[in-house]
């Protein structure tokens, strides 16, 4: 693990945020935060509640626009990201409070993940024959592979609103994977799961990273998971970055311990 992390850290930078500040009215959610994500690594973002972790992900995929700072993605400098650009350029995302399309089946949810890659126009869509059907089948294959990979075959045709929480999180990961992302943002993928489900989720994350080489940025509260999975960890507290290192070093960091345990100093 340590070897791998050293290698990855030396690699090419996929995304870097530089001096990001984000305010809502008088509340400063992020204050001059900078860090980078290397291609192929699993990068964890941790911090106490309200530290600005989710806001950081929202900035990265363009849902929030920071007042100051810049984002560099694949060598392109952007002052602000927008959600459409992020999606088109291979940034996919899962959410803290599952953001699935509740009225649609698992299959349809995953198929929406392919929306960007499908481009047959209104005419063929109206006929649902010929090219439109071929395209539909082609993407159905990809989606079925993901369904196999995540072991959710049995719930293919169940509206996701009826699924238990753990499975919903898995379907949401599936929808993000259907976008074939280069960078996958996972916002607390394991909250509310039991041990077994967590282990499954860890396995999926490692396999996605290992097999497809997908870069992953991960917010998680379970320290065991973070330490085991990630190559490097960035720690936020009250919107500021207080540490940024490999897991072993972060664990020893005085500022981090103070932030978590509330020790003065």
């Amino acid at each position: 693990m340590t070897d791998a992390s050293v290698n990855v850290a030396a690699g090419e930078t996929l995304l870097a945020v530089d001096g990001i500040s984000l305010r809502f009215g008088g509340v400063t959610a992020l204050n001059d935060v900078s860090f980078d994500i290397k291609r192929g690594e699993i990068r964890a973002i941790i911090g106490p509640n309200g530290a600005g972790k989710t806001s950081m992900l929202n900035v990265i995929n363009g849902f929030y626009h920071p007042q100051r700072g810049a984002i560099r993605f694949r060598g392109q400098n952007l002052t602000r990201m927008n959600p459409g650009f992020a999606a088109r350029n291979g940034i996919a995302r899962t959410f803290q409070n599952v953001a699935l399309f509740r009225g649609m089946t698992t299959l349809d949810n995953l198929m929406t993940g392919r929306a960007l890659k499908m481009n047959r126009g209104l005419f063929w869509q109206l006929l649902r024959h010929g090219p439109a059907m071929d395209e539909e089948i082609e993407h159905r294959r990809v989606v079925e592979d993901i369904i196999d990979f995540l072991e959710i075959e049995a719930i293919r045709r169940v509206p996701v609103g009826r699924l238990p929480y753990g499975l919903q999180k898995r379907v949401e990961l599936g929808r993000a994977l259907a976008m074939e992302p280069e960078l996958l943002l996972l916002d607390e993928p394991m909250t509310g799961m039991n041990l077994e489900e967590k282990e499954d989720m860890c396995r999926f994350i490692l396999e996605v990273n290992g097999q497809f080489g997908t870069t992953i940025a991960l917010i998680e509260h379970d320290m065991g998971v973070v330490m085991d999975l990630s190559n490097r960890v960035v720690v936020l507290d009250y919107g500021r970055k207080i540490a940024d290192d490999v897991p072993a070093a972060v664990k020893q960091d005085a500022a981090v311990i103070a932030a978590y345990l509330g020790v003065a100093g």
Binding site: G84, F101, R102, G103, M104, T112, A115, L126, L127, R128
Partner: protein
Amino acid sequence: MLYREVGQYHTNYRADMRIFPILQDRIGILVILAIAFLGVPLIGGSFFLDVVATPFLIYALAAIGLNLLTGYTGLLSLGTGGFMGIGAYTCYKLTTWFPGVDIVVWILAGGLAAAAVGALFGLPSLRIKGFYLLVATLAAQFFLQWAFERIPWLYNNNISGTIEVPTRTLFGLPITGATATPVTRYEVALCIVVALTWLASNLVHGRIGRSWMAVRDMDIAAELIGIKLLPTKLLSFAISSYLCGVAGAMLVFLWYGSAEPTVFSIDLSFTILFMVIIGGLGSLLGAFLGAALIHVLPIVLRGVPPALGLNIASSTVEHLNLMIVGALIILFLVAEPFGLARLWQTGKQKLRVWPFPY
């Protein structure tokens, strides 16, 4: 026992992705189509065709239109009456200018104008949602109705202020106006409705339908996976209004024969919305079921008491009808928010496992 899918395996995606994957359903739909095309005109008299069947088809088409917008895309609209009016008036103007061209062409073209106007009034939907958007559609409804009343050009400067349907033919057979028989008008309506329903069904089962439902279920998440909100919503407005516009043109040309602006009032918008709610939000089948229920209910109410020897004033029947519809709306929302279509599904499920409870 007959309704079993045992042994029907799909070995390729094409078969699995059919709209009616189960053999019995495919047979069923063919039987229904056969009855609709051949049985109804043979058995039903001209009263039945004119009062029940043709209006039902027209309402069902409008309900499908609104359902695409409200049930599939989650955008509530009370402008349906106005958009139907656009279809009717456009068709009327076009056939006035080009009387030689087949009227079916103009009925279908009337929808295009409605689509354009619908998309125009759908523009605010990017920035405003929910109840706020409702006001935009109300603006469309009241503005359009005003235009139908106040712009004489739209009704060819008739003194009466109404549009009168001229006789138009298809392959030499009159299909609109006084000389067209109920059977021809019914068959023309049926052809249009079947064709457009088929197209709408294709649409909602593919990429576009999925992106509509994604916007309905969670627009933020839809945006973040790369679905562009404005084009998606506008397309929904346009296609929904297209179907409503065609239904509006059919309403005047194949059913009413002439129409005043008040035909396209907000009451029509409500009627169609109630069909969608009672039939089932997000279901094409529901549009037909809801249209059948809401349209047939007052006819039955008018017909039944005299048959039982009761003498009830016609105004009382109207009031009873309003009450029943209102109560039905509340009842359905409380008991079965997905309407008649879900009841139908449940029934089918029961049939599948019959005689076992599950």
